[in-house]
Symmetry: C2
Subunit: 247 residues, 2 copies
């Protein structure tokens, strides 16, 4: 419990390698997670080679931890392995369709989180790289992923060099609804977000970016509509090309 509650994202790592038995152990914890029909529709790509990290770095927008972390794990949906097994058994499996992409994404994410919890219990620090989906086709090429294997997220893992402060969260009751969803009045929204808006870090973001408020930092700087549309189209194209989306 305390481990889960004290989680913070770690972006600066010591150079120390992660022992082989620790790596095996955290991966083992990953695959013990629940998964759809026990089909294990995932694969984990381990990156420790310096050249491979350098190849991946631009597709993670050159965030320094990609090259600095001793260990990168790219967590993928994998429909390829199960399909090969079915084909070898005269069984005709059909994973086309959006449902499977989502099932595979959920299973991969659950696995990733088990790996994080296990890694943190060893004193390691982790960071999720959301850039994985932004550049899934390019990352697939670097990692030689066949059709039917889609990179979902990447974890950078290493011993923490700098332990950051716990980040803020909305009050718990803002995200929890009892029996039915209670939509939010504008007063409630204002109240829920006021702590976040008044953080020094938020005020700094607003000033640095010349915006009126924190929400505009999100919409005009961090998560722009043009980027969102661009990366969504790229992702959609990958899914269509691989036969997951059909009309």
């Amino acid at each position: 419990m305390e481990l889960l509650k004290s989680h913070r994202t770690i972006r600066k790592y010591k150079a120390d390698d992660i022992a082989e038995n620790i790596l095996q152990d955290i991966l083992e914890c990953g695959i013990r997670a629940s998964n759809t029909g026990n089909m294990q529709l995932y694969s984990i790509i381990v990156t420790r080679n310096t050249d491979k990290k350098a190849e991946l770095a631009p597709f993670h927008f050159n965030q320094p931890m990609v090259k600095e972390a001793p260990l990168l794990l790219t967590i993928c949906c994998d429909f390829n392995r199960f399909k090969l097994w079915c084909s070898a058994n005269n069984a005709n499996v059909d994973f086309s369709g959006l449902l499977w992409l989502f099932n595979g994404t959920i299973d991969s994410s659950i696995l990733a989180q088990n790996i994080c919890v296990a890694a943190e219990s060893y004193g390691l620090g982790i960071c999720y790289l959301g850039t994985t989906l932004y550049n899934a086709p390019e990352i697939s090429k670097v990692l030689h992923l066949p059709v039917g294997v889609i990179p979902i997220t990447t974890l950078t893992i290493g011993y923490p060099e700098i332990i950051t402060e716990l980040t803020d969260r909305l009050p718990l009751d803002s995200t929890v609804h009892f029996e039915e969803y209670q939509n939010y009045s504008s007063d409630r929204i204002k109240e829920m977000y006021s702590f976040k808006e008044n953080l020094d870090s938020s005020k700094k973001f607003i000033e640095e970016n010349g915006k009126e408020n924190l929400a505009q930092v999100y919409t005009d700087v961090r998560y722009k509509s043009t980027d969102s549309q661009f990366f969504s189209r790229k992702l959609m194209k990958m899914f269509v090309d691989q036969g997951f989306v059909f009309e």
Copy 2:
């Protein structure tokens, strides 16, 4: 570590309620998980009411644990709350596009898994209901979810009545690749799946369903192409209706 490695899905629960402080604590562990840009694009719907459980049950194919478990948590992507905050701040957020659906699904799944680990550390047992995505539109109605809130997965939670055996997994090295994906030869596939194929439970499934082998139980009985296509189209329609998919 031992907790993660000893995870098993629990489908039979004692009638005992879960104390309020334990519920709050496991939910708090959920929202401490990593999430995209700390936007907390999720909501958790708590179901404890008997009538609500009965309303939800058919959309989870009447699996008995839906009515029997003292607690159901439906974990949703929630773009509605953040959008309301942006609108109140003269900020124009654009979560349309597939990228956000996947980001939200990953964040919701990571949160769900933290809840599971926390629940298990309290001696509770959990089961993920994959049926949530099958019937997302119907479940949304029961839970009064507004546009922009998509149910991703459901957890049934309670004190275990029957603790099942640990389920099998492929050998760890079947799912892990070093530096690059190594595609599988047919001999390797045969070797990897032989343990699973030879389990007594597998042999029973094959016999009960009159199939030649285990793979055919998966493809012809459990995960049929017609179902997969039907539920994928339903999901796609929901996404199109809510503006997440565009061409």
